[in-house]
Symmetry: C2
Subunit: 119 residues, 2 copies
């Protein structure tokens, strides 16, 4: 299976490696999972989501809450939309954003808890 004994991997324990390899999830799937974590791994996006967990807000208000530029917020909202973490409804010129579902809230809550407990 392995063609590459070329270089550094010398001390491999064949059986254990084979065992764990068989239990590993698909590369593609784990990439997707890490990609999901990544969205939460930026404090601006996390703050946006946390703010939205309090109440729906328009872009301007989010900018005010986070004390950041409208553009910066808008760019991050785009990311959050692309990951289906937030949605929005138009009301006149404004766009009111809200969290897409409960998963988002529970993800944040869990990591908040873990962060509190672990340190």
């Amino acid at each position: 299976m392995e063609e590459k004994d070329t270089c550094d991997v010398i001390c491999v324990h064949e059986d254990e490696v084979k065992d764990v390899k068989s239990k590993m999830l698909e590369d593609e799937f784990l990439f997707e999972v890490s990609d999901n974590f990544k969205v939460f791994g930026d404090s601006t996006r996390l703050k946006i989501m946390y703010a939205l967990s309090q109440r729906d807000l328009c872009v301007c208000d989010l900018a005010a809450v986070l004390d950041m530029s409208q553009s910066a917020i808008s760019h991050q909202l785009r990311v959050l939309r692309s990951k289906n973490l937030v949605k929005f409804r138009r009301k006149g010129k404004m766009a009111y954003y809200y969290l897409a579902d409960e998963h988002v809230v529970s993800m944040i809550e869990l990591c908040v808890e873990h962060t509190k407990e672990r340190y």
Copy 2:
């Protein structure tokens, strides 16, 4: 409170903003939370942790399981150690790594579940 009406933030809804601001968690804390998520937001690190959730492994075996260089793995293990997500015990020349606690496992499991459910 805001000295900066300078530029773009024009349409702020004072009350809602004030309300959400009062409910926001500390900047510093949310930064820490996002920083924790960030560690899980890289597929190499996630794979390492997932592999270790199956059984303790030495660096070489991890490299074999992930099919990556020893150096790359070692660098990422350093990151994981610095965040107290993994620990290791020496056995001769080798270092056997293992997950630091159950939090790590449950974090991964949760996001795996969410990823499965959401798409």
